[in-house]
Amino acid sequence: MAMVPEMIHPDDREHVFRAAEESVRSGVHSEAEHRVVRPDGEVCTVHGLGTVKRDASGRAYEMFGTVQDITERKRAEEERQLLSRDLQESKAWLEEAQRVTHVGCWVWDLETNRLIVSDEYCRILGLTPKKGPIDLAIVREIIHPEDREYVFRTGKAIRSGERADCEHRIVRPNGEMRIVHSLGDLKKDSSGRPYQMFGTTQDITDRKREEEALRRSQFYLSEGQRLAHMGCWAAKDLGIRWTDDLGIYWSDEVYKLFGLDPRNGPPNLEQYLAAVHPDDRASMEDTLRMMHERRCGCDVTKRVVRPDEEVRYVRCVGVPVFEDGVFKAFHGTTIDVTEQELLTQELRREQAYLAEAQRLTHTGSWAPNFVTGQNFHLSDETVRMHGFDLSEEAIPFERFFNTVHTEDQPAVRAALENPTRTGTNYDIEYRICRADDGEIWSFRSLGHHHPSGEMADYVGTTMDITEQKHAEQQRERLRQLEADLAHINRVNIMGELAAALAHEIKQPIAASITSANALSRWLAHDPPDLERARAAATRIGQDGNRAADVINRLRSFYKKGTPPQRESIKVKDIIREMSVLLGDEALRHSVTIRSELDEDVPGILADRVQLQQVFMNLMLNAIEAMKDTGGEMTIRSGLNQEGQLLISISDTGVGLPAASSERIFDAFHTTEPQGTGMGLAITRSIVESYGGRVWAKPNERAGAVFYLTIPIEAEAHA
């Protein structure tokens, strides 16, 4: 008996004994499963049942029981549990796999028309997973209405033995649309009758969207390449033997650029180089060789000649691709830059013309920012004009400003300040001291505020006006000389007319004195005749004014150095004034003055003294021509056919010198011993300064006619 407890597996002994003790104590049957270790060491499992026997006093005196060897049963049980656990685990893994891959599975019982589905299938359809089959009608409803017919048609095809494989859309109960891929297969019984369909359904929405995005991206890329005339290429290597297959990939656009048919595949190296323009071939060959030898990139623009002989400019950019330091391939782009290249060439030509024009006209262009001192653009001529070396780079604005003549710098600075502050344009003239030889040049600078730039961004030109300034100074000296000569001419006229002018002044003075005598007489009457006295006094005043008028007219004639001052003048008034002044001189030489003046001739803007001088010269010239014979001077004024003011002064004198009627207007040309020969020359100079003309013709019967015109543009609007 002692051996029995020993045979109980040590780990189970306590459990067995406790069960026995409990049975003894409570009187309930004991039941326990435990292992026993046989003497040969084999472990088996037994099921023991025990009953306690008691005497009349209730005292337990015996225990009776049975032991059943359940080793086999237990092993089978354990195997079954293990199998069940494995199954559960497999199911869980399958579920997890389905969940991760968005693949659900389903079994369609063709007899009951019910569908047994996996949880993931439910989730794909937007249904809540549940145990047991689901109604096929629910699934049918979820299929996108537009795809239902197609799906059912596929289902029918399966029945006829085909394998189901279809993509279709579903609309989840919450309205979300998904795309699924279903595969189905038919199961048949031993008689060949189909009884079940098994299949999977995978949610491929994300993949489809990615594919769509990729397709779109590829489309955009392809479209972009087409629109940009840009293709891409890749090559494992370029090879160095001309017959080598380049082994490259060309996008469609590259084929288009080269005018080649993609169906013929990419060209080998020899074919490729043959497509390059002969003038560019050698350099392209060198480029390819260098890329091959040094594994370096390239950026070259070359010409290719298409099979139809059209020449295109192509820019080829390539880079070597390395992986873990090992060269793998070249990748690159090829762009049709024909338009840009032609434009660039045109631009270069234009720039060359512009630079040449600037050089010829001594006009430079520039674009600075006056605040930062940065120069965005400086033409070569600007640099040259300031005396800088063309090889100098990025000459700052300040250095240009420093060339401005020190005397002009404050004015230039002030002239630039306001436009810079207000963003307005400016136009200034100043001198510079050239940076190289220190020569003084005169510049005119025009600056326009850059409309789309910063406040102090300007674009403009600088013109060399040194010659112009010299010419202006020369012209000013000539003008001054002319003015001096004109003054001398006037003074000479006054000298010649001294006697006649003295008469013009003396006449009103004499009248005044006479009237003053008469006035005294009338006052001396008894009673004084005041009315006659007043009349005499009035005449004295009038004569005084008359004398003053004559003197005033003459005084302007003597003035020197006064620049011409234009005012509205009626020419007929000037002619009348001159007729009065020259009246006594004409009378002295028995010359009568007749005038036919158009009263409607508009006024002109002119300098009074200059016009007086013109008429004084021409009228004196006429009197001079008739001084020995007397005669008639006729002055006419009106408008000619061109609408210009036309004045003629005719005389009946000696006439024009033969064969030299034009020379009479030359300076110092005179037929008079005392003449200076300046009168008619100055007359012409004055008339021409108004854009007019003066000329002379023989008079019909005798003498000469002098004509002068003055454009009516000089009309006064007063």
Partner: protein
Amino acid sequence: MKSAAVPTVFIIDDDRSMRQAIQDLVESVGLRAEAFATGRAFISRQHTGDPSCLVLDVRLPQMSGLDLQRQLAEAGIQIPIIFITAHGDVPMSVRALKSGAVEFLTKPFRTRIC
């Protein structure tokens, strides 16, 4: 020409101011005066009495004072002539006085007439 009750001084000067001033001066001393701008105007005037005096400007348009003097002499008209001129031409005054002029005055008159 016939004699008038009041002596008449005839004045010929082409300058209107001078003409009026001389006429006024003559009238201020109680004489009659008649003024003309030209010699021809004087000749064409129908004179009713003998002229007492002729104040004649030397330089006149169309016909000078000396020409008028000559024409009057040729016509036998005796009239004292006082020449007036603003030019003060000595040879001319000598010529005028030789031809019978009573006086040769230079404008402006430096002496009182009356």
